[in-house]
């Protein structure tokens, strides 16, 4: 019997989180950058950006705990990475940027537990809204979020996500 707890990530978890990110990126999001144009250094920057003096993100990890008599130690099997955003209309909100659970641990409600924990953090910090993005082919994820009360703003209000990617941004900057 596997017991999984959701807790705040510690600096020492960065290596495990980076490994899960790489596993997830083996099936990449279409169109996502595989390489950064800003010189991002993977795990090293993940640690500095999340656990430095001014963190740019927060992270929860799902950790499986060994049962009685099991020799294997605790193991990070999933994560939820989020940050706070600001709306001129709604004030402070939380944005769930990335969530992942190892395939062998999926279907046990761990993803839902991570989302619920982020919701608790959001309420604790005075946020009025929780936002996230989902790809339109990911019906399973969309159904999960809708079951939790989520609304598709792209469908309902016509909001589209836009990007100036690295090279275009460099041109705009006049570099």
């Amino acid at each position: 019997m596997v017991f999984v707890q959701i807790r705040e990530a510690k600096e020492g978890d960065c290596g495990h989180i980076m490994r899960l990110i790489r596993v997830k990126s083996a099936s990449p999001k279409p169109g996502s950058h595989r390489g950064s144009t800003s010189g991002w250094r993977g795990g090293e920057d993940l640690r500095a950006d999340g656990f430095g003096e001014n963190p740019f993100y927060h992270c929860l990890v799902a950790e499986s705990l060994p049962g009685p008599g099991e020799s294997q130690g605790p193991c990070v099997v999933g994560y939820g990475l989020y940050y706070f955003i600001y709306s001129t209309w709604k004030g402070r909100n939380v944005y769930l940027e990335d969530i992942y659970v190892k395939p062998e641990y999926q279907g046990q409600g761990i993803g839902s537990k991570i989302i619920k924990k982020v919701a608790e953090v959001a309420l604790d910090k005075g946020c009025s809204q929780f936002r996230l993005s989902v790809l339109d082919w990911n019906k399973r994820a969309m159904d999960l979020y809708k079951a939790l009360g989520a609304q598709d703003l792209t469908e309902a209000e016509g909001w589209h996500s836009f990007r100036f990617e690295g090279e275009v941004m460099r041109k705009l900057a006049g570099k």
């Binding site: 990110i21 279409p30 169109g31 996502s32 950058h33 595989r34 950064s36 144009t37 800003s38 010189g39 991002w40 950006d49 003096e53 001014n54 740019f56 993100y57 990475l81 940050y83 955003i85 600001y86 709306s87 001129t88 402070r92 944005y95 940027e97 990335d98 619920k116 919701a119 608790e120 309420l123 009025s128 809204q129 929780f130 936002r131 996230l132 993005s133 790809l135 339109d136 979020y145 939790l148 609304q151 598709d152 703003l153 792209t154 469908e155 016509g158 909001w159 589209h160 996500s161 836009f162 990007r163 100036f164 990617e165 690295g166 275009v168 941004m169 460099r170 900057a173 006049g174 570099k175």
Partner: protein, 145 residues
């Protein structure tokens, strides 16, 4: 000919750890100020951009443009372009991989403005949908065992 200057202002909702550029504040703003001899202060704010930093665990920091507006009387002078240039320079200085923002699909002038400058519509091109969960549902989730 109106003279404009861009002022980068750091506005804090409440005190954060550390001041200064590229830090994680709730938001920062770029103000476009018109020099106006008729006003006592000599200037008035005619445009602004509000932004903050977000994060993608695959590529690191991003600059997120939350709000961007130039008063209608002051459009067509290149103020919007100048603000965007300023934002891009901030993004590069802070080692951001890209700049993200939302546009409503019915807002054709804004869509044209951004696409003319090389922006990609990730919702149309890659299928990204923005979801929200309102507070009442967060409270329900938190109350469940």
């Amino acid at each position: 000919m109106k003279a404009f200057s861009l002022i980068h202002a750091c506005i804090f909702l409440k005190p954060m750890v550390g001041f200064g550029f590229c830090n994680y504040n709730f938001y920062e703003s770029i103000l476009s100020i018109a020099h106006n001899d008729t006003l006592i202060t000599g200037h008035s704010v005619v445009g602004f951009a509000m932004y903050y930093f977000t994060y993608d665990p695959w590529i690191g920091k991003l600059l997120y443009l939350e709000d961007f507006f130039v008063m209608s009387d002051f459009r067509g002078f290149g103020i919007g372009s100048e603000i965007l240039k300023n934002l891009s320079q901030v993004a590069m200085k802070c080692r951001c991989s890209s700049m993200h923002f939302l546009v409503a699909e019915w807002n054709k002038p804004s869509i044209n403005f951004y696409k003319k400058r090389g922006a990609s519509d990730l919702s149309s091109e890659e299928g990204w949908r923005l979801f929200k969960i309102d507070k009442e549902y967060l409270l329900k989730m938190a109350a469940e065992e």
